[in-house]
Symmetry: C2
Subunit: 203 residues, 2 copies
C-alpha cells in the first residue's frame, strides 16, 4: 500500500511512521509549517525521514491559522493535557486543512491512503480528533477524487500511554521525537504536550 | 446568518454573493491564489467585494497544487465543459482544501456557515462538485469544531443555465465576472469554462 503520512516529528506520528514501515507500506511524509511556536518539531521529522530515506515535503501554511496559543496568539496554557484550558491550543480546523492538502498530494503521488496519528486522549480537547470526525473525513476522502482514497488512523482507539508502549515495541528512539508546544531549545515540562508525554512515559 | 463565501470572481460565485446579500446574510469573502493561470478572476472578485463593502481576504496556496491544466502543468483542453477531456482541468482535491481553509477562517470569524457555488453541470468532470461529496463535506464541517458549521450550496441542483437565469433575476452585471481558464486579457472563447458560459448565456 502506498501511504502518505501527515508527520509532525512528535512521538505519535513518529511511532506511526515506524508502524507503517514495519508493515511494509510505501510511505511518503508531509509536514506543515503553520506558524507553530514549536517549529523545532520539523527538525525531528527531518531526522527520521532522512534516516529511513522516505520522501518528505514541508508545506507552508503561513498566515492561514490564527487565534490559538499554538501560534502565539494567546499565552500557552499550563497543566494537564485533558484540561478544558487546553482548548486554547486548538488551531481552528487544523486537521481538516492538513488532511485536505495531504489528500491533494496523495492524489498527485498516486497513493492509496492518508495516515495521521490521532489518538484517544486528544478527543476531549481537539474536536478534529474525535472518532465521528475521523469517520466523516474518511467518507469525504473516499469521494474527493474519481479514485477512492482511504484514511488510516490505527491509534484512534489507543491512549497516549498505549501509543508509547507501541513505540517501544517498534524500537522507536523516543528521545529523537519532539512534543513540547513551546518554542524553547529544551522541552518546557509544563505545557499540555509535555505533561501528556511525561505521563505516558512514566508508568 | 453570518456566512463565509468561497469567492472566485466567476459567474457562479458572483451570483451566489448577490444571492446571499439579497437574503440579508452577513457575508465575508475568501479567495485563493493557487497558481491558477486565470488569476485575473481575482480582480473581478475585488471589484464586487469593494462595491458591496464586504470583507475580502485572498489566501495564497502557492505550490500546493500541481498536475492540472488550470495551473499550467498541462495544455488547456479545448471544447465542451462536460467532455471527459475537461478532467485535465481538475485540480486535485481543490475544493476540499478551499472548504477546509474557509472553515478555519469561518471559525475564527465566528460565522455560522461556509458557502460555495458548485452547480449541477460540474459534477461529471469535478469529483468534488458531486452531491455525495457536498453531503459528506457538510457532515465533516459540522464536526470540525465544538460549534456546528454548515455548508451552503444553493446552486447544487441547478444547471449553469439556471444559475445564469438567477444572476439576471438578481441584477448581476455578468460582464463584470470572469470565467475563462486561460490567462489572457480577454476570454479565449475556446476553453471549457468559456464554452459553458457561452452556452448558458446564449439561450
Amino acid at each position: 500500500m502506498k501511504t502518505l503520512l501527515i508527520y509532525s516529528g512528535g512521538l505519535d506520528s513518529t511511532t506511526l511512521l515506524h508502524y507503517l514501515l514495519d508493515r511494509k507500506d510505501e510511505v511518503r511524509c508531509l509536514s506543515f509549517d503553520y506558524d507553530q511556536k514549536h517549529k523545532v518539531e520539523l527538525i525531528y521529522a527531518k531526522y527520521w525521514t532522512d534516516k529511513f530515506n522516505v520522501p518528505h515535503e514541508i508545506v507552508s501554511l503561513a498566515g492561514i491559522f490564527a487565534g490559538s496559543a499554538l501560534t502565539g496568539d494567546k499565552p500557552m496554557p499550563q497543566g494537564h493535557y485533558t484540561d478544558i484550558s487546553m482548548r486554547q491550543t486548538v488551531v481552528p480546523n487544523r486537521n481538516m486543512v492538513m488532511l485536505a492538502i495531504a489528500a491533494s498530494k496523495a492524489i498527485q503521488a498516486n497513493c492509496d491512503a492518508v495516515a495521521y496519528a490521532a489518538h484517544a486522549d486528544d478527543r476531549g480537547v481537539y474536536p478534529d480528533c474525535r472518532q465521528e470526525f475521523v469517520t466523516a473525513m474518511d467518507a469525504v476522502l473516499g469521494l474527493c477524487d474519481w479514485k477512492k482514497l482511504s484514511l488510516i488512523t490505527p491509534f484512534l482507539g489507543m491512549t497516549k500511554k498505549e501509543v508509547y508502549k507501541r513505540a517501544l515495541e517498534l524500537g522507536v528512539r523516543v528521545d529523537k521525537t519532539w512534543s513540547c508546544y513551546e518554542g524553547g531549545e529544551t522541552p518546557c515540562g509544563r505545557c499540555g504536550a509535555c505533561s501528556s508525554r511525561q505521563e505516558a512515559i512514566a508508568s
